[in-house]
C-alpha cells in the first residue's frame, strides 16, 4: 500500500512543459503559486494524483511466458534482460540493442539512460520521443541563434507583451494555465493565432489566420513580405544583429500576400494586418509549437517564422523575442543530456572530439569506446528487427505504438524484434507487447529535476513512497549495468548524486548546469541555464548582448515553400491533421486511466466540416472509417462548421483501431528527422 508522507510537499505537475506548481499531500493535489501557472491547474493537473493510487498501476515485473505476461521477481526479470542483451550482442554486435527514451523523464534519468546506452551497452542506437516533439524547433533555433532554449526568456515576459503571434499552438487545450500570459496581448488587440482549425485558442485571438495545413512556410513568407513592403522592416536591427537577410528576402519578395493567399487561403489583407499589429506593438513575441514544427520541412518552417521575428527586431531585445512552446514535461531537459542519437550531455555533439573527451573523462572511460551517432527515432523504430537493425529494444517513458507515425508499420517492427523491454508504471499499449515489463516509480515518488519550457531547472521533491515492488528507473539502470559488467559506482541510484555528475558532464557545454545544485533549487532560486558556476545567478534572458553564433549575429534562413510531402489527390482528397485535446496527455496511457478525464473524452473523434461529412455520407456521431496510404482507423464524427472543408482533425491519444497515427506519414525532415504528423492525405468512408 501507498504510505502517505506526512507533510505537504511543494512540487510540479507530471504532465506538460509548463510544469505548474502544485502541492501534494499524499496523493492529494492542490495548485500552488508559481510563475508559469500563477496558481492555476488544468483538469489533468488536478486529477494527476489519482494515478498514484490507481489500481491499474504495475507493482510487479512481468515476463512473457508461453505468450502471456506473467508476474516475476525483479531478479528473474533483470537476469533475463541481461542474459538476452549479452547473447544478442555476442551474436550481432553492440548495436543490436536499441534504447528509446522519453521527454517526460527527469534530467537525471535522461542523462543516465544516455550513459547506460553508450557505456554499459556500447550501442549507438538510442533516441527518444522528443524527436517527434521538439526537434524541428531545436534545429531551427540552433541554425538561427547557435543555441536552442525553447523560450530564451521567462514565460512571464510574454504576459507583458501587447502582441503575440502563436503559430500552430493551442495552449488553451495543451497547457491551459499558459493562457493567462496571453491576456494582455488579447486585450491589447494583439493576439494573432495561426491554426488550420478554429481552436479554443484561436477563438480568443484578435486575428485568426486559418491556413491550409502544410502551407505555413508560404504564410510566413507572405507576412515577411508585408513587413518589408509596408515599411515595417527594422533596418538597424537587421544590419547590426543579423546576417543573411538579402538571401531570405529574395525568396520572400516572390511571395507577395496575394500569391500567398492563393496557396494558403489566408486573406492578403489579414497577412498585412498581422504584420502591422506586430510592428506597432511595444513588446511582441513570436511563438511556435507542434502545428508548424511537425512537418517534413518543419525546420525550415520554423526558420521562416524566426526570419519574420528577426525582420521585426524581436529576438534578443528586451521585452521581445522568438520562442517555442515545448510540449513534454521535460521536453527541454530531455533534449540536452544525451538520450538523443547525436548528442552527449550539455547539448554537446557526439561527433565532436572535444565533447567526447570531456564526457568520457567524467564517465571514466576511453573516449574511443564511445559509439558515434545512431539512428533518429523513426529511423530507429523502422529498422527494428531488420537484417541490419537492432534485435532488441528497451523503452523508457514512451508509448511508441500509439505515438509514432505510421503506427501500423511500427507495430510490425516491434513484432519482429527478438526482445522488447518496457519500463513504465502502467501497462501501456507498447508495454503490453513487451517480453519483459518493469514497473517503475511515478513523479511524486522520487526526487528529480526537470527543465521547463523557459529553460528553468526545477526540483520535483519526493512526496510519498512508491508501492512495494516498484523501483526507480535509476535503480533499474544500475542493476542492469552491474549485470552487464559495469562497476557499481558508475551507476549511482540517488538522483542528487546523478545530478552532481550531470553538472560536471554539462560543464562548459551549451546547456551548462554546472552551477545548479539541489540546495539552490530547494532554496527557491530561479535558475535558467546556462548556470556555469555556483555563484552565477543563471540566465533568464539569453541573447540580449549577442547570439550564440560564432560572429554573435542571428542568421536568416533562405527558405522557400514547397508544400507537404503527400499532396491530396482524387483517391485521398482530404488533408488530415492530428493534435491534442485538453483532457489527455500524449499517447493517453496515463490520462485514459483517470476516470474523470476518460469520461470527458472517452474515445477518438474526427472533426469534419458538415458539408464534407455529408458528402461522405457521415452523420453526426456515427463511426467513420478514415483511410490513408499507411492504414486505416475508425473515429466518431463531430461536425464542426468552422473546419476548412478540405481538412479533418484527429486527436492521437487513443489506442488500437482509434490510433490517428495509423494514418500519418513518416516522411522526415532532412535536418531534424521530424515526421510529418500534421499533414497526410486521407479519405472518409462509412464504417
Amino acid at each position: 500500500m501507498t504510505q502517505l508522507a506526512a507533510p505537504a510537499v511543494d512540487t510540479h505537475c507530471p504532465y506538460c512543459a509548463l510544469q505548474c506548481g502544485m502541492r501534494l499531500t499524499g496523493a492529494r493535489v492542490e495548485p500552488r503559486q508559481f510563475p508559469t501557472n500563477g496558481g492555476g491547474l488544468c483538469q489533468k493537473g488536478w486529477t494527476s494524483g489519482s494515478l498514484l493510487t490507481s489500481a491499474s498501476r504495475l507493482t510487479t515485473p512481468l515476463v512473457r511466458v508461453d505468450g502471456e505476461l506473467r508476474p516475476a521477481s525483479w531478479d528473474i526479470a533483470l537476469d533475463l534482460i541481461a542474459h538476452k542483451i549479452k547473447a544478442l550482442q555476442a551474436m550481432h554486435g553492440a548495436d543490436s540493442i536499441a534504447v528509446f527514451g522519453g521527454g517526460g523523464l527527469t534530467n537525471e534519468k535522461s542523462y543516465q539512460l544516455g550513459k547506460f546506452a553508450r557505456v554499459a551497452l556500447g550501442t549507438s542506437q538510442i533516441d527518444y520521443n522528443g524527436r517527434f516533439c521538439m526537434s524541428s524547433a531545436a534545429a531551427a533555433g540552433i541554425r538561427a541563434f547557435g543555441l536552442d532554449r525553447g523560450m530564451p526568456f521567462p514565460v512571464t515576459d510574454v504576459g507583458k507583451a501587447d502582441a503575440v503571434l502563436l503559430i500552430g499552438a493551442n495552449p488553451a487545450e495543451t497547457m491551459p494555465p499558459f493562457i493567462q500570459h496571453l491576456t494582455n496581448a488579447a486585450r491589447s488587440g494583439g493576439l494573432i493565432v495561426v491554426d488550420p482549425r478554429r481552436t479554443p485558442t484561436a477563438e480568443q485571438a484578435t486575428l485568426h489566420l486559418q491556413p491550409r495545413p502544410g502551407t505555413d512556410l508560404a504564410l510566413a513568407l507572405g507576412i515577411l513580405h508585408a513587413v518589408v513592403a509596408d515599411g515595417h522592416l527594422r533596418h538597424d536591427y537587421v544590419a547590426e544583429r543579423t546576417t543573411g537577410f538579402d538571401a531570405a528576402w529574395r525568396i520572400a519578395a516572390a511571395w507577395w500576400p496575394e500569391r500567398v493567399e492563393r496557396v494558403t487561403g489566408v486573406a492578403a489583407s489579414d497577412q498585412r494586418r498581422a504584420a502591422a499589429i506586430l510592428a506597432a506593438a511595444s513588446n511582441a513575441y513570436v511563438l511556435t509549437a507542434r502545428g508548424t514544427e511537425q512537418h517534413a520541412r518543419g525546420t525550415d518552417m520554423v526558420g521562416a517564422w524566426i526570419n519574420l521575428a528577426m525582420s521585426l527586431g524581436l529576438p534578443g531585445t528586451p521585452g521581445n523575442g522568438y520562442g517555442c512552446l515545448t510540449g513534454q514535461g521535460n521536453g527541454q531537459g530531455g533534449r540536452e543530456h544525451g538520450q538523443k542519437a547525436d548528442q552527449l550531455p550539455g547539448y554537446r555533439k557526439i561527433d565532436d572530439p572535444a565533447a567526447r573527451a570531456h564526457v568520457a573523462g567524467v564517465w571514466g572511460v576511453d573516449p574511443d569506446s564511445l559509439p558515434g551517432p545512431g539512428r533518429s527515432a523513426y529511423e530507429l523504430l523502422d529498422a527494428l528487427g531488420t537484417e541490419t537493425g537492432p534485435k532488441a529494444l528497451m523503452v523508457f517513458g514512451s508509448n511508441v505504438i500509439v505515438s509514432a507515425p505510421s503506427a501500423g508499420s511500427v507495430g510490425d517492427r516491434l513484432s519482429s524484434l527478438d526482445f522488447l523491454v518496457v519500463a513504465d508504471f502502467v501497462l501501456s499499449e507498447t508495454a503490453a507487447r513487451a517480453d519483459v515489463v518493469l514497473p517503475v516509480t511515478q513523479w511524486a515518488e522520487e526526487d528529480g529535476t526537470m527543465t521547463n519550457l523557459e529553460g528553468r531547472v526545477l526540483l520535483r521533491t519526493k512526496a510519498l513512497s512508491a508501492p512495494d515492488g516498484v523501483r526507480g528507473d535509476l535503480d533499474v539502470l544500475r542493476e542492469l549495468a552491474i549485470r552487464l559488467g559495469q562497476p557499481e559506482e558508475r551507476f549511482p541510484v540517488e538522483p542528487e548524486t546523478v545530478f552532481a555528475e550531470l553538472r560536471r558532464a554539462s560543464a562548459g557545454g551549451v546547456a551548462d548546469y554546472a552551477g545548479v545544485t539541489y540546495d539552490r533549487l530547494r532554496a527557491g532560486e530561479a535558475l535558467h541555464w546556462p548556470v556555469p558556476s555556483e555563484d552565477h545567478p543563471g540566465t533568464p534572458r539569453v541573447f540580449l548582448d549577442r547570439f550564440s553564433t560564432p560572429d554573435g549575429r542571428a542568421r536568416f534562413a533562405a527558405v522557400d515553400h514547397t508544400g507537404p510531402a503527400e499532396p491530396i489527390d482524387d483517391e485521398y482528397p482530404l488533408i488530415a491533421t492530428t493534435g491534442r485535446v485538453l483532457q489527455h496527455y500524449q499517447s493517453g496511457a496515463q490520462t485514459r486511466l483517470v476516470e474523470e478525464l476518460l469520461n470527458a473524452v472517452p474515445e477518438v473523434f474526427i472533426e469534419v466540416h458538415p458539408d464534407t461529412a455529408e458528402r461522405a455520407g457521415l452523420a453526426e456521431g456515427v463511426l467513420a472509417r478514415v483511410v490513408s496510404r499507411r492504414g486505416e482507423m475508425r473515429a466518431r464524427v463531430r461536425q464542426v462548421s468552422s473546419m476548412r472543408t478540405d481538412t479533418v482533425f484527429l486527436p492521437f491519444h487513443f489506442p488500437g483501431e482509434q490510433r490517428a497515427n495509423l494514418l500519418t506519414n513518416p516522411a522526415l525532415d532532412p535536418t531534424s528527422r521530424m515526421p510529418e504528423f500534421k499533414v497526410c492525405a486521407v479519405r472518409l468512408e462509412v464504417s
Binding site: L41, W46, A229, A247, A253
Partner: protein
C-alpha cells in the same frame, strides 16, 4: 553525354525564373548549360512590386530578383546589356550586338511585352519616344519618371482603368497627387468586372480622392497643361501615366519566321513552330492563357525546366486559372473566372451590392463548383473562394456564408444572459466545468466564486472564465 546548351533571351520575370528552375533541378549543370541574355544593364527585378515602389513603401533595390552574384554562384552565363541581333535557326546560333555568338541546343524566348501607347495626339514625339511629362508603367525607369512628378498636390492623369492603371492611381493618390483616371470603357477593369462591380470599385477609389472619366478617350495631350478628352472636357495633368495595355514583344520571333498571333504561338510543351525554340511569359501565346500576369509565366518556367533538364519529359503546361487581385491599399478586390453570368441565367448566381460600404460580391456556381466570382471589400471571403476555384472542390452548401465571409460571423448566437446558456455548456474549459455543474454546486451551498472554485475547480486553470462565473453567481443570486 554533353550538357544541353540552353540559351534564354530575356532576363525578366520569366527568363530569370526559368534559369532558377533549371538550376533547382540541375544544380551542378550536369544536364544543362545555361546562358541568359538581358538587354537591360541592370539585374532582373520583380515587376509585381512596382506598384509598391510607386506607392513609396518599397525601394527599387528590394525589387531585385537576384543578388549580383547569383549567376556566378549558380553556374549561369549571364550577359547583361547586350541584345540579340539575329538568330540562325539552321546553325542554331544567336548573334549579339557585342559581336559575339552563342550556340544553342534549345533557345527560349522570354522577351516579355511592351506598354502600348494609344495614338493620342501629343503623347509621343516624332521619333516615337514619349513626350515630356508622359510615362508608361512597366519598369523601374518608369517608376523613377513617375515619382519625379508625383508631388503632393500635383495633378496626374492615368490613361487606362485596368488593373495596373488603378494600382498606379492608388499609389499616386496615396502620395498626395490629385489623380484622374481616364478610361475608354463605361466601367473599370472591364475584362475582370461586370458593370455593377466596376461601379462599386470606382466609388471606393473615389473616396480615396481619385476622379474618373469613364467612357472617354483622350484626344490630345499638351505638355504642362494636361489632356483634352473626346467630349471636349479638360483634365489637368503635370504627368500622364499611360497604362493602356501591353503588346507581346514578338519582333525577334517574327524576324526569324516563327508563327505569331497575339504572341509567339506555343503548344503545351511551350514549343514554337520551331521545335528547338520555346517561348514563355508575356511574349508567348498559349491557347489557355491570358498574358500579362506573372503566375502563368512562372508555371510555364517550371514545366519548361522539367522538359529541358529531362527531369520530367512528360511535363505539360495546360493553362493557369486566372485570379486577378488588385494591389491597392485600402481596396481589396478579387476577380476570377466567368464574372459576366446573369443572375437570371442558367448558372447559380449570388450577388450582393453594398456600395456605401464599398462592398460588392458576386458568385457564379455551376455543377456545385465556383466558376466565377467578384469579391470587393470582403477579403477573407475572397481567400476562401479563390481556394475553392483553384481546387475545383464543391462549394459549401452555406452559399451566403461563403459569399459574405467574416461579415457573416461563423460564431453561433451569443448568449447575453447566463439564463440563455444550455446546462451542458462548458464555462470553464480548463477543467471541463459546465453551467449545470456550477448551478448544482450553487444549490449545494457554494454561493461565491471562491466557493464555486473549491467545489467545481471552475476558474482554477487560466482564470479567463472568472467573469463568466461571476455572471452566473449574480444571475443565480437574483433568480
Amino acid at each position: 553525354m554533353s550538357a544541353r546548351r540552353v540559351v534564354v533571351v530575356g532576363y525578366g520575370m520569366a527568363g530569370s525564373r526559368l534559369a532558377e528552375e533549371i538550376r533547382r533541378r540541375d544544380r551542378d549543370g550536369e544536364r544543362t548549360s545555361v546562358t541568359v541574355i538581358g538587354a537591360e544593364p541592370h539585374p532582373a527585378y520583380n515587376r509585381v512590386l512596382l506598384s509598391a515602389v510607386v506607392a513609396g513603401t518599397m525601394t527599387p533595390e528590394s525589387t531585385q530578383l537576384h543578388d549580383a552574384g547569383w549567376a556566378a554562384e549558380h553556374g549561369v552565363d549571364l550577359r547583361l546589356g547586350v541584345s540579340v541581333t539575329s538568330i540562325d535557326r539552321e546553325a542554331r546560333q544567336v548573334a549579339l550586338d557585342d559581336g559575339s555568338t552563342v550556340d544553342y541546343d534549345a533557345l527560349v524566348l522570354a522577351t516579355g511585352s511592351q506598354a502600348w501607347v494609344p495614338p493620342t495626339e501629343g503623347l509621343q514625339t516624332d521619333d516615337g519616344s514619349l513626350a515630356p511629362g508622359v510615362a508608361t508603367f512597366r519598369d523601374l525607369d518608369d517608376c523613377a519618371a513617375i515619382l519625379e512628378h508625383a508631388r503632393p498636390g500635383a495633378p496626374v492623369a492615368v490613361l487606362g482603368g485596368g488593373l495596373l492603371g488603378l494600382e498606379a492611381a492608388r499609389g499616386l493618390a496615396g502620395r498626395g497627387a490629385l489623380v484622374t483616371v481616364v478610361h475608354p470603357v463605361g466601367h473599370l477593369m472591364e475584362r475582370q468586372l461586370d458593370p455593377a462591380g466596376g461601379a462599386v470599385l470606382a466609388r471606393a477609389l473615389g473616396e480615396m480622392g481619385i476622379e474618373f472619366r469613364l467612357g472617354r478617350f483622350a484626344a490630345r495631350y499638351v505638355q504642362g497643361d494636361g489632356l483634352k478628352l473626346d467630349d471636349g472636357s479638360h483634365v489637368p495633368a503635370d504627368l500622364v501615366v499611360v497604362s493602356a495595355g501591353v503588346r507581346a514583344d514578338t519582333a525577334l520571333a517574327e524576324s526569324i519566321g516563327l508563327t505569331v498571333d497575339r504572341g509567339i504561338v506555343v503548344d503545351d510543351s511551350l514549343r514554337t513552330s520551331d521545335h528547338r525554340i520555346h517561348a514563355i511569359g508575356d511574349c508567348a501565346n498559349h491557347p489557355m492563357t491570358v498574358s500579362g500576369l506573372v503566375q502563368p509565366a512562372w508555371e510555364q518556367a517550371e514545366v519548361l525546366a522539367d522538359l529541358l533538364t529531362g527531369v520530367d519529359p512528360a511535363a505539360r503546361y495546360r493553362g493557369t486559372p486566372v485570379v486577378t487581385r488588385l494591389k491597392a491599399k485600402g481596396v481589396d478586390l478579387a476577380a476570377l473566372g466567368d464574372v459576366h453570368a446573369e443572375v437570371d441565367g442558367d448558372a447559380e448566381v449570388l450577388c450582393l451590392q453594398d456600395p456605401v460600404r464599398g462592398r460588392y460580391a458576386k458568385l457564379v456556381i455551376r455543377d456545385d463548383r465556383v466558376t466565377g466570382a467578384i469579391v470587393l471589400g470582403s477579403p477573407d471571403a475572397a481567400a476562401t473562394i479563390t481556394q475553392l476555384y483553384d481546387a475545383k472542390t464543391p462549394a459549401p452548401t452555406d452559399r451566403l456564408g461563403l459569399l459574405l465571409g467574416r461579415a457573416l460571423s461563423s460564431a453561433g448566437p451569443v448568449a447575453h444572459s447566463p439564463a440563455d446558456l444550455p446546462a451542458s455548456s462548458v464555462v470553464c474549459r480548463c477543467n471541463t466545468v459546465t453551467k449545470g455543474q456550477l448551478v448544482k454546486a450553487w444549490r449545494g451551498g457554494a454561493a461565491t466564486v471562491p466557493e464555486l472554485a473549491t467545489a467545481t475547480r471552475a476558474t482554477t486553470g487560466c482564470g479567463s472564465c472568472t467573469d463568466a462565473v461571476c455572471g452566473i453567481v449574480d444571475w443565480l443570486a437574483r433568480a
